[in-house]
């Protein structure tokens, strides 16, 4: 019984990939390359005296303030009043390896496209979902720490908070909005493309049977 199950599973995993699947995998690799260069997330702050808002764009490898970089200085200047640590790219160790991680996934997708079988897709999909969950968790932790590790000697004492990750919230006189950007959409596309590739090759027959 169990043996039959494993053997069916084994046959499924050894299925070759059709042309459509291979193209989908190429698209996934392209999406991963896109994610290296496109902004992943944007945090936007609006207050009465900042009507155009202050923008912060997070890339895989850099942190970019709006208004020619100026908004990052401004956000840090404002944050010092509540004792928040200045946001500095140097403190984001992940920005040194994240592009490589995306690259590795891109290579895995290419590998699957050229020499892969169904099992490569499962590896790629599972690893990628795990990696994404870990990254989002890490991002949340970052936000939590920035909002909770406040300098007790700061001019203003506020209740520790977590900057919102999806959507908007009001912090003092600011409305903070945080939303994924095109880079994150590229990443979201990857598991969808992998799943589609699996779907397209579900009927492929094993060469030796």
């Amino acid at each position: 019984m169990i043996k039959t199950l494993f053997s069916r599973q084994y046959r499924f995993l050894r299925r070759p990939l059709g042309l459509a699947s291979r193209l989908l995998l190429l698209a996934a690799a392209a999406a991963l390359v896109g994610a290296v260069f496109l902004p992943l997330w944007k945090i936007h702050l609006v207050a009465p005296q900042y009507r155009e808002g202050l923008a912060l764009r997070i890339y895989a490898h850099k942190l970019v303030g709006g208004n020619g970089g100026q908004d990052l200085h401004e956000i840090n200047t404002l944050n010092h009043y509540i004792g928040m640590k200045p946001l500095a790219q140097a403190d984001f160790a992940e920005m040194t390896w994240l592009p490589f991680a995306f690259g590795v996934f891109g290579l895995l997708a290419l590998r699957a496209a050229f020499i892969g079988r169904m099992q490569s897709l499962v590896d790629l999909g599972v690893l990628f979902v795990y990696f994404t969950a870990f990254s989002l968790g890490n991002f949340y932790l970052r936000l939590y720490n920035y909002g909770h590790q406040l300098d007790p000697r700061a001019p203003m004492t506020i209740e520790p908070f977590t900057p919102v990750m999806f959507g908007s919230q009001k912090i003092a006189n600011f409305i903070q909005t945080s939303l994924p950007q095109s880079g994150a959409l590229c990443l979201a596309l990857v598991p969808v493309l992998v799943a589609a590739a699996m779907w397209c090759s579900r009927g492929e027959t094993l060469p030796e049977s």
């Binding site: 020619g68 100026q70 401004e74 009043y81 001019p155």
Partner: protein, 635 residues
């Protein structure tokens, strides 16, 4: 039981609307656009004067108005049509509000003078149109010209006292491509300056001067290009030519009698005074040809020896304005003591010069025959001073004595109009009171805006809430788009606008912060960790950062007798995040705009501990932005 109507039911029905609209339509029917009306009252109805000058909170004006501030030494900036004062640009006087005249750079600009007398602002031009780069203003008292950069609305250069030139009233008149800012002396003195002569020998010993201040086209730097020596007439107002009069400039004078005392009577004896007709291109060429002699370091042209640079033109008694129209062909000069504007045809002036149609000469300078070049004398009214143009063939002359503005039609005139020039006077409007200058936007360019006229009145005589005997001046906004002029609004200013320029708001795009990337200041620091205090002998040099809400360092230790130099950089890059540094009892008040670095220098004369603090409200913790200057006594 109370029932709630749906919202649309509670609105006035169509019948009620119609009833409300009918009287409104009837009213507007009584006042066709441009009609002189009393609707400048409290009505805010569409089309009323109130509605046309209303700039709602958060909205912006359509034009800049740059008023000269007279003996305040400043330039005032207002918006049109609201007439709201927006900003003051200090030029010749210290202005604690922006820290002007307190830091080393602006102290050096002001030199030895604590004030100036700003009369006639002029915008820079390219091809006869405003190019939005600079605003030039003159100092009638100390013979200077200043350049304000419209990139940041700051005074960037003060040239002068100009050698051999005294009483710089006949300025600032900018040539078509800002080659020169032209200047003429109102008060003649013995030359070179510094020489003593008896004022009783005025006619013999004193001289006037017309100067071409050269403007560097790349950065606006001014220098004296040339001067033309003139008899000691009192040069008054001028304008530059364009089109057919391109390369020429004109000034009126009073006192061609060359009297030196009780001018009120002695200088008003002749029926005519002389205007100067100057070929400024020829003057520049004469200097290049080596025809000038150097006086006090400046090339000076003796017009009798260099024919073709200067002519005299008789104009009605004691004139003030002489204004070239946008086509460059018609020149209107008005005599304060004769109720006419004389209109000259530059083409006739050119022809008269070519065929030497002169009535004689004064000190070797030919006098052009008045009758040969006159197009007509228009009986505009009493005390005509200054004329502006709307670009649609109309001229507007201020009438000082009559307290009015006359609108009249430029030539060409019909035979019937020529026979009776009363017929070219189209309209007149009262102003309050005693108008001096007036301005129509772009009147000195090829393409005036022709929408508004601002009357700058010398007396306000209690038209405002009473503020005691020292009263403000009044300026009135007049709509000139219709057949009849229409009074829209009035505003009050500090002393004392003499003339103004109007600039379309979108003609410039000023910066709002000094970008960190573009900072070239040798003492700028951008990071708190670069702040420093260095002692060299008896000099203590501080590099300081100002940022919400602290100075770094916020403690400075010195000894009595030290020289303290502080370079402060406002490292903010956010609009309007301005900080100031005041040191108590040290007469220090320096203001830094975002991204600006300023240097202050002071001699430490007394021991004690002197608080310093931020003067410009910057943040919730602005009050906390402070520090101490601790001074140890001499041992």
């Amino acid at each position: 039981m109370k029932t709630h109507l749906p919202p649309f039911m509670s609105r006035p029905g169509p019948a009620a609307l119609a009833a409300a609209l009918v009287p409104a339509l009837l009213l507007s029917g009584c006042n066709p656009p441009g009609a002189s009306s009393s609707s400048s009252g409290k009505s805010g109805a569409p089309g009323s004067a109130a509605a046309r000058t209303w700039v709602a909170p958060g909205e912006k004006d359509e034009y800049y108005l740059f008023y000269s501030g007279g003996h305040s030494g400043q330039v005032f900036v207002a918006g049109l049509p609201s007439m709201r004062h927006i900003s003051t640009i200090p030029v010749f006087s210290p202005y604690p509000g922006t820290g002007y005249g307190f830091d080393e750079e602006t102290k050096a600009l002001l030199g030895d003078y604590a004030w100036g007398d700003v009369h006639h602002p002029a915008l820079s031009q390219a091809d006869g149109l405003y190019d939005g780069r600079w605003l030039f203003v003159n100092d009638n008292a100390n013979n200077r010209v200043a350049r304000i950069d419209l990139r940041d609305f700051k005074t960037r250069q003060i040239l002068g006292p100009i050698p051999n030139s005294s009483g710089n009233h006949g300025s600032s008149f900018v040539t078509e491509n800002t080659e020169y800012v032209l200047v003429a002396s109102r008060f003649s003195v013995p030359l070179p300056k510094g020489r003593h002569a008896d004022p009783a020998d005025y006619e013999k010993e004193f001289n006037g001067m017309v100067s071409g201040i050269k403007v560097d086209p790349s950065d606006g730097t001014m220098s004296v290009g040339w001067q033309i020596l003139t008899p000691p007439f009192n040069w008054d107002l001028g304008s530059t030519g364009k089109g057919p009069s391109s390369g020429w400039a004109f000034w009126t004078s009073y006192n061609s009698e060359m009297a030196h005392e009780t001018l009120e009577a002695t200088s008003t004896q002749g029926d005519r005074d002389y205007a100067a007709v100057v070929n400024w291109r020829a003057a520049g060429q004469a200097v290049r040809d080596g025809l000038a002699t150097t006086l006090d370091g400046v090339p000076v042209i003796a017009p009798a020896k260099v024919p073709g640079v200067l002519y005299f033109l008789p104009v009605p008694k004691s004139p003030h304005g002489i204004d070239t129209d946008p086509s460059g062909r018609w020149i209107a000069a008005s005599g304060k003591l004769q109720p006419v504007v004389s209109v000259f045809d530059f083409e006739k002036i050119k022809a008269a010069i070519d065929r030497k149609d002169f009535t004689g000469e004064v000190r070797g300078v030919p006098v052009i025959r008045y009758e040969s070049v006159l197009e007509g004398e228009i009986p505009v009214g009493l005390g005509p001073l200054h004329t502006q143009y709307d670009g649609k063939g109309n001229a507007y002359t201020s009438l000082y004595i009559e307290s009015a503005v006359a609108k009249w039609k430029l030539p060409p005139w019909t035979a019937e109009e020529k026979a009776d020039l009363n017929k070219v006077i189209l309209d007149k409007i009262d102003v309050h009171y005693n108008i001096g200058h007036l301005v129509v936007g772009g009147s000195d360019t090829k393409e005036p805006y022709g929408k508004y006229l601002v009357a700058m009145n010398k007396l306000s005589k209690g038209r405002h809430l009473s503020v005691g005997p020292a009263q403000p001046e009044s300026s009135q906004l007049i709509d000139i788009t219709g057949e009849k002029m229409e009074m829209l609004y009035e505003a009050f200013t500090e002393p004392e606008p003499h003339f103004a320029q109007i600039l379309k708001a979108d003609a410039i795009k000023p910066i709002e912060v000094y970008p960190k990337a573009g900072s070239a200041h040798p003492h700028a620091i951008w990071d708190a960790k670069d702040a420093s205090i260095t002692r060299r002998g008896n000099t203590v040099e501080v590099k300081m950062v100002a940022i919400r809400s602290r100075f770094i360092p916020d403690r400075i230790d010195v000894n009595e007798g030290d020289e303290l130099v502080i370079h402060v950089t406002n490292v903010e890059q956010t609009t309007d995040m301005i900080h100031g540094l005041a040191i108590a009892e040290q007469n220090v008040n320096v203001i830094f705009d975002p991204g600006e670095t300023k240097t202050l220098r002071l001699k430490i004369k007394k021991p004690g501990v002197f608080p310093f603090y931020c003067t410009n409200f910057c943040s919730a913790l602005h009050q906390e932005m402070q520090g101490y200057l601790a001074v140890k006594p001499k041992s």
